[in-house]
Amino acid sequence: MFAQWGLPHCAFFDKRKRGENAVNENQEKTTAEVVTLEKIQPASEFVLEMTDIEKQFPGVKALDHAKLRLRPGTVHALMGENGAGKSTLMKCLFGIYKQDGGEIRIDGQPVHFTGPKNAMENGVAMVHQELNQVLQRSVMENIWLGRFPKQGGLVSHKVMFEETKKVFDDLDIPVNPKTIIGKLSVSQRQMVEIAKAVSYNAKILVLDEPTSSLTQEEVEHLFVIINKLRAKGVAMVYISHKMEEILRISDEVTIMRDGQWIATEHASDLTTDKIIKLMVGRDLTERFPPKTNVPGDVVMEVKNLTGKYMPSCIDVSFNLHKGEILGVAGLVGSRRTELLETIFGIAHHEKGEILKDGRPIQNKTPKDAIANGFAMLTEERRATGIFGGMSILFNSVIANIKNYRKGILLSNATMKTDTQWVIESMRVKTPSQKTHIRSLSGGNQQKVIIGRWLLTKPEILLLDEPTRGIDVGAKYEIYQLIINLANEGKSVIVVSSEMPELLGICDRIMVMSNGHLAGTLDIKDANQEEIMRLAAMYV
């Protein structure tokens, strides 16, 4: 299967045998300060062995005898649902968390990294999903930050440029090292991060959801780079939710569930169904509550909606029915959030109109939208959803605050009654109304915010990634809540990047592609392949 990825061998690769090159280079370059790894020849066939890793957080066992073994020159997919412990395991590897038990060995030697930089200096690097770069500065400065090449005490731009160019040429990355990094696309920025890892002579590279914001073409380019690295003997951990990609690019797959190691298999022995079964540990049907809502008449019509400032939605028209759950699917960057923001009046629109119950309405600001019976749950809960340092009470009543006025003061009694209603009907687990919302779990925070919006008595709810960063159990409760709302005759639009979620709870699914509405699927005809096909339509 992987023969097709074979690369034209250049002299650089030929000189070295797979798996040994990184070792040799590290002997020359690793500063011996912290951990020296390469004094002894590899004692095992694995470049990385993580055994029986345990990590306890207050109230949760995040890792329970987790393990991962990585062979040089392979791509090892690490899979599991959100909250399965993948990122905790990686954080233990990089020394961001200290594991409570278990052992990490690299080339047979036990290691304890003190942080990402220390790990990087020892050939272990990670490309994060959310790229941490200094956007105002050039590509090459970002790559050499913390270890600028110097000549006569001054930073040498020439050396920096040449070294960067060398790595880029090696990996076929068509980026000028002098470009300001903020001007690059996400995929280019990601490639810069990979190149940074390579410049540290990384022999273990962790890629966290590398394709979540890439187009199909960019994914192909990334795979070419991954294959080059594989040919150089780099061992890669590939974290992703995308089954086809994983089956295509990886050699081995490790599956985790609830912090535990479940299985490690050769990719060639696996199928999508098998992986899902191992990940979920139960049949998929149980992941979603039974659908009981019945969509009624059209409640909202959106006609030719186009945002004023691009990137935004372009010429989007659709109908929403009473008691309907309408899903919005699309790749990252397909402007689903922008569509919701435009409807809700956070973003301005250039043209188009919105009709509610047949009458045109103007949502020029969120305030207008709320008055017109809209509510919006934003995507970034921490940044634009919760008031972290404020109480549950404050967070519950804030969107509805003017209705608690009694004269010029606010009525404490009604606010308390309503907050209690939020806590009870949303089943928020909290010690009291005075608890700071920040100290609740993600799922409970989300329930409070949904409750906040329900207090404004909306007819149309816009939910942007309502289950992001929420554990599996709480997700089920959120799904149930959404279906209950539809049962009560409220109309819900759900934006989600998790296709199974949309397929599980929606009545129809709209697919966005690069700002356009690529198509709307009835749930009976919807499947992942069809959604992906539409999502790529305008890319």
């Binding site: 942080g115 990402p116 930089k117 990087m120 200096e121 941490n132 770069q133 200094v134 956007l135 105002q136 500065r137 400065e141 970002n142 930050l145 913390g146 270890r147 600028f148 110097k150 005490g153 001054l154 930073v155 945002g307 004023k308 400032y309 935004s312 923001e341 956070i346 973003a347 301005h348």
Partner: protein, 333 residues
């Protein structure tokens, strides 16, 4: 429609420069001698000390901070320099023990030491105590002012201006070398040194990285606290030099010396494109900003604008500069 939008964008983004251009044209019409070489040197020489101060403040703004104490710190340095360099024949000089003129480097070094100490206090507050630069420098501003007043008040005759400075010192500061005022030379040398630091040293690169994305810098192994302290240290040295020169330039140091210099320095940086969001700025920008500000001062004076009205106009110009700067960074929705 599109064209129109672009034009209005363009006009807005360069509004400041248009206004300045119009102002200068008015001045030239009122008095063509404004354009003379001599006048240009004069403006530059006047801009020099504040320019050196601005070179220091700019680093803190790049770190997404600021410095409100720069002016008062400069006041302290200037008082030290002036008190040690009063003419030895002047009867009511502060240090009667000094009977031979001190070599100039002694007060220069002392001025630098005093300024560095204040700056390191600010730096410590920002780097180690994680205070916002605005708050800590608000505090040191008051402290520095108090120290300055105490120092000047400690003279035998009470609080009187530190004047009658050593003519040799005044000549050094205000003289000319190779057809250019010495003050301009000092400014040029400091600016060049700072250009090297900002663009060619690890400290400069790290400073931009910390200002742009502190976490990315820390993850890449940059010692954030140490680099912040170093930026403040460099600023302290610049303040010390500026203070030494300023005392010689104005030839009389009082408790009011340095008042609002920090605001001039900050304004100069902002006009020159150093962003308050951090991570963005250039040394040529700072120099141009400072010079523009000085030209404004000079033009308003030249045009005979009421002194109080001058404050109003300067304030408006600063607001305009920042408003334009901010526009560049807001994502429109």
């Amino acid at each position: 429609m599109e064209e129109k939008k672009k034009w209005s964008e363009f006009l807005l983004n360069y509004a400041l420069y248009f206004i300045l251009g119009i102002m200068i044209i008015f001045v030239i019409i009122a008095d063509p001698s404004f354009l003379s070489i001599n006048n240009m040197w004069k403006i530059l020489a006047q801009a020099s000390t504040r320019g050196i101060l601005a070179l220091g403040v700019a680093g803190m703004i790049v770190l997404a901070g600021t410095d409100l104490s720069a002016g008062r710190i400069l006041g302290c340095g200037a008082a030290i320099s002036a008190s040690l360099l009063q003419s030895v024949t002047y009867a009511s000089r502060m240090y009667k023990g000094i009977t031979e003129p001190l070599p100039l480097w002694v007060p220069l070094i002392l001025s630098i030491v005093v300024c560095v100490v204040f700056c390191l206090v600010n730096g410590f507050g920002v780097a180690k105590l994680h205070m916002h630069a605005f708050i800590i420098s608000l505090g040191t501003q008051l402290i520095a002012y108090g120290v300055l007043c105490l120092y000047i008040d400690s003279q035998e005759g009470g609080a009187q201006p530190l004047a009658s400075l050593d003519p040799h010192y005044i000549e050094r500061v205000n003289g000319w070398t190779l057809g250019m005022p010495n003050l301009v030379w000092f400014f040029a040398i400091c600016a060049f040194a700072m250009w090297i630091i900002w663009n060619k040293t690890t400290l400069g690169k790290n400073m931009f990285a910390i200002g742009g994305n502190t976490e990315a810098a820390a993850v890449s192994g940059v010692n954030v606290a140490k680099n912040i302290m170093l930026v403040y240290l460099v600023a302290g040295i610049l303040y010390g030099i500026a203070a030494f020169l300023e005392a010689g330039r104005i030839q009389s140091v009082t408790t009011a010396t340095g008042l609002n210099y920090d605001l001039d320095a900050i304004s100069g940086c902002v006009i020159g494109g150093v962003s308050f969001n951090g991570g963005i700025g250039t040394i040529p920008g700072v120099i141009i900003g400072v010079i523009i500000l000085q030209v404004i001062n000079y033009s308003l004076y030249y045009l005979g604008v009421n002194a109080y009205l001058q404050y109003v106009i300067k304030g408006l110009i600063i607001i305009l500069a920042v408003a334009i700067d901010v526009r560049k960074y807001i994502a429109k929705k």
